[in-house]
């Protein structure tokens, strides 16, 4: 369209220069940047830092649980560790990692010059370090950090929470602002900045899954904000939302929280679904078996995620009709999820498979995520859930969907796109070592938790009965192994960023997509003129 030309000439000179120079020098490049690649890198680096921080808290937990009895930490501190581990991993590690991938890859995949709202993009990122500074600072406050679990159920978090809970609430608010703005930016980018000719049903699946994830984020992060606001008011201003003596109900908290919380778990996995679809297809050297069915399956999972929240609270006294409804609705999710797993498997079927590091992580993702999905089905059965509820079986379940699900998805994506980001090939031998050590460590850590849970070991306790000792020791050894292995990942990425074999524009011969038409590393500004899509 003709831009109002009179005004244009006054600024046209500076405008055109802006587009052609590279990154600014020094710290201001990172503080002031509007570049989607810089912001994507910052998200990814931040998320890995949080992964190590949350991981070190997990190491404290596993060290304490290595043997029965109280060895290393006091129960109060143990509770702070489980709480902070969960919060940091969910909000600090997994979510920002996917936003980082989105920032890097979405504009490259749809042929856009940048994200739609680049300054807001920068703000979305910088709010995260700010929020986590406040959250982590609660560890050093009087009364200690939040100690009520990452789900912060009332009244544990209201009547009985430490004074630092108020700081925790504001940290959650800032994370929410960041997520909502990030999601708005992603939707605006996808809906408005696609290259001409890229219709919705031609979009790469990672773009599709992020579009739907962004919708989920905008729908549920404000509900989380509502939940913590009610907490804030109950704690500081005498309201009685979660206090039955004033006509409220602690269960109300759980409803509001899980209305956020269940879509949230899909927020943490759907982008991985998208990335895995690309990777499986690339290393099978075959197009995805059923693109459209994948899109519809993701949409169905997202919609179903809004009507299953009470399966987290079967034992709280949900009326029978409610239990039945939420049980069947939950089981329905297995259908679109099955469509996805079927698709990945049939994509690999009769493909020319090779098993570079991204593919190893992707295949492990499919198998292990399915295990997590199946234990989810077991938990969905309301009468059986009365046995499993609040045991280590639940811990095993969600770690199977989050570690080999979300986190393996992130590792697979990182190895897949590292050549595009850095211009170098990563060290394949080290990467495969990283995979195998992670794979073995992770299964050692989490598989025994199924048995512990079925045998009745409750979650969130620093000490346990003697019969649980052996499995806990195995689990701790696996956790230490998995944790230590992640330092190897740091080494591999740093090594790859600093040098190594030059990466061609398209390092994976089976890979498809606009991002592989760009040189490696991708130039600082890409697609300032959109490509034509046939």
């Amino acid at each position: 369209m003709a831009v109002t030309g009179v005004f244009m000439s006054a600024v046209a000179d500076t405008h055109s220069q802006e587009h052609h120079h590279g990154p600014a020098k020094g710290i201001s490049r990172w503080l002031l940047t509007t570049n989607h690649k810089d912001i994507g890198s910052m998200y990814l680096i931040f998320s890995f830092a949080m992964f190590l921080l949350g991981g070190s808290m997990a190491m404290v937990i596993r060290a304490e649980l290595f043997q029965p009895g109280l060895q290393i930490v006091q129960p109060e501190f143990f509770n702070q560790m489980t709480t902070m581990h969960g919060l940091i991993m969910v909000f600090g590690a997994v979510m920002p990692a996917f936003v980082g991938l989105a920032n890097w890859m979405l504009p490259l995949m749809i042929g856009a010059p940048d994200m739609a709202l680049p300054r807001m993009n920068n703000w979305s990122f910088w709010l995260l370090p700010c929020a986590f500074l406040i959250l982590v600072s609660t560890l050093f406050m009087e009364g200690g950090a939040p100690n009520f679990g990452w789900t912060f159920y009332a009244p544990l978090s209201t009547t009985y929470g430490p004074p630092s809970t108020t700081f925790f609430i504001f940290a959650i608010h800032i994370m929410g602002v960041s997520s909502i703005m990030g999601a708005i930016n992603i939707i605006a980018t996808i809906m408005n900045l696609r290259a001409p000719g890229m219709t919705l049903m031609k979009m790469p699946l990672f773009v599709w899954t992020w579009l739907i994830t962004a919708f989920l984020l905008i729908a549920v992060m404000p509900v989380l904000a509502g939940a913590v606001t009610m907490m804030l008011m109950d704690i500081n201003f005498g309201t009685s939302f979660f206090d039955a003596s004033g006509g409220g109900d602690p269960v109300l908290f759980q409803h509001v929280f899980w209305f956020f919380g269940h879509p949230e778990v899909y927020i943490m996995i759907l982008p991985a679904f998208g990335a895995i679809s690309h990777i499986v297809s690339a290393f099978s050297r075959k197009p995805l078996f059923g693109y459209a069915s994948m899109v519809y399956a993701v949409g169905a999972i997202a919609l179903l995620s809004f009507i299953v929240w009470a399966h987290h609270m079967f034992t709280v006294g949900v009326p029978l009709a409610g239990q039945l409804f939420f049980m069947y609705a939950t089981m329905l999710i297995a259908v679109p999820t099955g469509v996805k797993v079927f698709n990945w498997v049939t994509t690999m079927f009769r493909g020319s498979l090779t098993f570079e590091a991204p593919m190893l992580f992707a295949v492990a993702f499919i198998i292990l995520f399915s295990i997590g999905g199946f234990s989810g089905l077991m938990l969905a059965i309301a009468p059986a859930d009365f046995q499993y509820h609040d045991t280590y079986f639940v811990v095993a379940h969600f770690h199977y969907v989050l570690v080999p699900g979300a986190i393996f998805g992130i590792f697979a994506s990182a190895y897949f796109w590292l050549p595009k980001w850095t211009g170098h090939m990563y060290d394949e031998t080290l990467a495969k070592t990283h995979f195998w050590l992670s794979f073995i460590g992770m299964n050692l850590a989490f598989f025994p938790m199924h048995f512990l849970g079925l045998a009745g070991m409750p979650r969130r306790i620093p000490d346990y009965a003697l019969q649980f000792a052996d499995f806990n020791m195995v689990s701790s050894i696996g956790a230490f192994m998995f944790g230590a292995t992640q330092l190897l990942f740091l080494f591999i990425v740093v090594k790859c960023a600093r040098g190594g074999e030059k990466a061609p524009a398209k390092p994976w011969d089976g890979a498809e997509g606009l991002e592989w038409t760009l040189p490696s590393p991708a130039p600082y500004h890409t697609f300032t003129t959109p490509p034509d899509i046939k």
Partner: protein
């Protein structure tokens, strides 16, 4: 399409990092005020932190929106950019809808399930054993534990001030639409008139609401502390009121911009965004009027 080539990617900007520091300091100060206040300690320092943060936020808002307005008037934004703003604003409003949905959801859950259960009804009527003899009613004026939560003597009926407020807001929604039509027709005097009328109605609304609050606190003992009725009443109307104030600030900004000669017949998304927001605030009020006051 040529407009794809003009997509404006701004150069480095200090505003996001200023906004981060501003928001972080403000909220840290707010939390410190509450925590220190609860422990009976001095809150002076916390207030200072809070106001420093608020000032940084104000500086940022003027600066950031100022640069967007300058860029827009310099013609840097293509139609495609305009569409990005539209997507952005619509989804922002959707996020606000979901924020209110959480509080409406809480209200419905309490009214439909919790209070009857506490009164001994249904599957979970056993919770009645905690406070035997508690009578479920809505509006809930006798709380289960009146010692902990003394109930209100009376609640606010819908057909007095709330009805007036409803009329004020609905009228303001109409006047802002008339102003929009005037803008599209190039009738700038009309825009000024009808937008001024909208702002006036908004301000009267806020004053009426403030009067209603003082009446509730002073005459009816209806406070945040008077149990779940006061909790839901003040949270819903309070957050709505805060959004009215924000919407009014937006409308006033648009009025100032109109007076400065900003906006054309075809290019005035800032104005439209403010009016979208205003309609949203109006719709929330209608929900409030029905579910908080009438039913």
């Amino acid at each position: 399409m040529a407009d794809h080539q003009n997509y404006y990617v701004p150069e480095q900007s200090k505003w996001p990092i200023v906004a981060t520091v501003g928001l972080g300091v403000t909220l840290y100060g707010a939390a410190a005020i509450m925590v220190n206040g609860n422990q009976g300690q001095s809150t002076t320092g916390s207030w200072v932190v809070f106001w420093i943060g608020a000032l940084i936020m104000a500086y940022m808002l003027f600066g950031w929106f100022g640069s967007v307005i300058r860029e827009s008037r310099a013609g840097l934004y293509s139609d495609q950019m305009d569409r990005s703003f539209r997507w952005g604003m619509s989804w922002f409003i959707f996020s606000e809808v979901m924020f209110f949905a959480a509080f409406f959801g809480a209200l419905f859950y309490v009214r439909v399930f919790v209070v009857p259960w506490l009164g001994g009804e249904g599957d979970r009527g056993s919770s009645n054993m905690l406070w035997e003899g508690f009578q479920a009613s809505w509006p809930l004026v006798n709380n289960p534990d009146p010692q902990a939560y003394p109930g209100p003597r009376e609640v606010i009926g819908p057909w007095g001030l709330p009805l007036i407020n409803t009329l004020l807001l609905v009228t303001s929604s109409i006047t802002v639409t008339i102003a929009h039509h005037a803008l599209k027709a190039g009738n700038r005097a009309g825009v000024k008139l009808w937008l001024t009328a909208t702002v006036a109605l908004a301000i009267v609304f806020v004053f009426v609401q403030g009067y209603e609050y003082s009446h509730a606190y002073q005459d009816l003992d209806l406070t945040l502390r008077s149990g779940i009725y006061g909790s839901t009443f003040f949270m819903l109307t309070g957050f709505h009121g805060a959004h009215v104030v924000l919407g009014t600030v937006m409308l006033v900004t648009m009025l100032i911009r109109i007076h400065k000669g900003h906006f054309t017949k075809d290019q005035h998304f800032g104005f439209e965004a403010a009016s979208w927001y205003w309609h949203f605030v109006d719709v929330v009020w209608l929900g409030l009027f029905v579910f908080v006051y009438v039913l």
